[in-house]
Amino acid sequence: MIRFIVKRLAAGFVLLLVISLLIFVGCEMLPGDVAQIMLGQSASPENVAALRAELGLDQPAPVRYLAWLWGIFQGDWGVSMTSRQPVSVMLSERLSNTLTLAGLTTLVSVPLALLIGMVLAVHKGTRLDRVGTIVIVGLCATPEFLVATLGVLVFSIHLRWLPAISYVTPGSGVLTLIKSMLLPLATMTIIVTAQLARMTRAVVGNILTQPYVETARLKGAGSVRVITVHALRNAIGPLINIIAMNVAYLISGVVIVETIFAFPGLARLMADSVQARDLPVVQACAMIFSAAYIGLIMVADIVAKLFDSRKESGASS
């Protein structure tokens, strides 16, 4: 078991290194000189050369790659090309906003989705299941910006309950903070819940067709007992996997949602930086998102394996 965890961690780390290399090489292929772009066409050659030296651009690429990696380990992500601020400063505040949004979404949608998915699975084939499934499939296929724009139209414009745009400033009160986060949170929650519930229904529904569930029912077990004692035990591994997949999905959802609501999060920072072609910031954001993604999948693998460890542990008992 420990061997598996170590192997899995090592694999995740190697993967991250490969991705860092890809990101770095990708950005190297940008046509034109970065220092020239930063200073504009009218800059004097001396200034450009000075900036190149300052940014370390006169070093060969492998050296710069290693320096960049080494910087990341020390929390130094470089300097933004547009704002000339250290990237780490720009990240810190944005990161906590995004983490709050993603964390709250997870907290709300995971239990909700598991509940919905299981209820639908137990009632498979009934009218409740058919209606529920159509709603879920519909929501799964809906783009975030439809849910978001409809939400704004209804709650901000017509009802005027919530702000259409999230102005989160450090000084604002808790109520304002909650209010401004409510629409982005609701949008993300709806989409994630629908997807997770759909998968939960499939996983649990499949387990409920297993012969051992029939055996349990023929022993007189009711639905609650069948789910809690028999089905859940076998569903936990796959369920953890799909939960992780969906939380990882949040990453792509968050980019769109943050942009629509002008939410000051990491994803919007990245999207803005891409438009400004501010590569150090793009690189940093890409690394953080990839690391989060890989980390989640890795944790899911390990936890699923822990729950599936009966093969090793059982024999000795």
Binding site: Y212, G220, S317
Partner: protein
Amino acid sequence: MTLLRIQNLNLSADSGKPILRDVSLTLEHGQILALIGASGSGKTTLALTALGHMRPGVRHVSGQVLFQGQDLLRMSRRALARLRGRKLAYIAQSAAVSFNPRIRLDRQVTESSRIHHTMSPDAAHARAREVYRTLDLPTGEAFYNRFPHEVSGGQLQRFMIAMGLHEMPEILVCDEPTSALDATTQVEVLKALDTGIRASGTAAILVGHDIAQVVQVATHILVMRNGEVVERGTVEQILHHPQHPYTQRLLEMHRGFDAGSGTMADTAAAATTAAAVSPSDRTDRPPLLEVRDLAVCYGTGGFAVKALSGASLTLNGGEMMAVVGESGSGKSTMARAIAGLVQPSQGDVLVNGRLMERDVLKRPLPMRRAVQITFQSADTSLNRHHTVGRILGQVLTFFGERSKERRAERIRELLEQVHLPADYVDRKPSQMSGGEKQRVNLARSLAARPDVLICDEITSALDNIVAASVLDLINELKRELNIGILFISHDLSAVAAMSDKIMVLRNGEVVEQGPTAQVLGAPRHPYTRLLRSSVAEMRLGWLEEASALHRSLRDELGA
């Protein structure tokens, strides 16, 4: 009051197709009713209604299932749940999938007592141990607390029986409790079931496909066909005075084997002389198929597992050799190695005296066609998107038949050889029955005009009567085409009467081989005797004898 009375029960599939037609039966205290019939006869569906259970896709049309006067099919889910596990218990066909893989066996056996609060935990614990002892399970708390995948198939099925008997139910429904097990294990589990039912005095419904097995346990028999009751009576009545032709046919299949085995002992001596004048000895012609010291290993290096070691055999044209063994005995591995699908680690395969390449793809075309193999499952060996004509035609084309007319003619001929109507050429596998598909499967092998035909368990997925007709076909092909047939089977009774030679495999080793009459008439190895004694015989008292014999043979084998 009658314990269980089923009255004019009609069930249908969702599509409206009837599954049970006007079935009635009664079950009294102490009776053990066997339901016999082919797959699709509705016997399992009928048995499950005694638990008030219908599988998804089954609909109640009319009729009643009265347990102690209450109609189970009209009962609320709650009321039903209160009866299940306590008064009405169930033993599933395959224990391997019917136990929850993540709950310890003892917890599952005693679960009913926790659901229904029938006993204190201590009493439930004690009761479980009592049943385990009755069923002859190994003793020890550690053993009882294993997970399902940690015990053998036979033990698991006995845990399943223990689970059914734990609450001392009024009715025990057993759905083919032995059919998923190896032949030798079947006897022991059947004996355990018999002992368990008798010890608890419960009434039982026993679904079975092997009539010889169920008569050992049952007191009454109900024969079913296409959802209808064909015949019913006590075991004696059915066994000695069967009225319906279908029942008579079911019984005859077994009589055939019993009669054959009776004469085997007599002809044992004669067989040796018969073998002495077999064609291979008279002429200098090499045998059709010769296998020398064949061994197969799976895996490499330190992890290599020997699947087959040192098997040798000879087979002549017009001869059939049965290769018999349980799962894991290496019989299929041998078949695949001879066919060149698995690489042997040592040994030679010769056809007509010519050494065959180990890899089938390295064999030249004429040699490749000389050995053909037919697999167990027609469902996976026939491409379900192709018609029969395309399936057979491709083989002909591949082996060089360019003319479309000649191909069509040859396909007609092949269909005739396997006794299928000529218009089946346009059918797809989904439009044929299991037996018909297996015939097409055979026809495809024959299309290559092989010298040696290897049949890998081709009858095991079929119902008895259908399997018998496929065996007849093989026998006929052997004579008419004068080909050698290697028939792999786990079922000794299926092949005993028809094969000329037999080879018994166990754990990858050849235990015994020789002329069938000799090997089965006077088996020398205890394992052969064990297999031989596992074939159910159609007489009362066989189970007692067989299980006693089993115990001593198992001791002899040290297992």
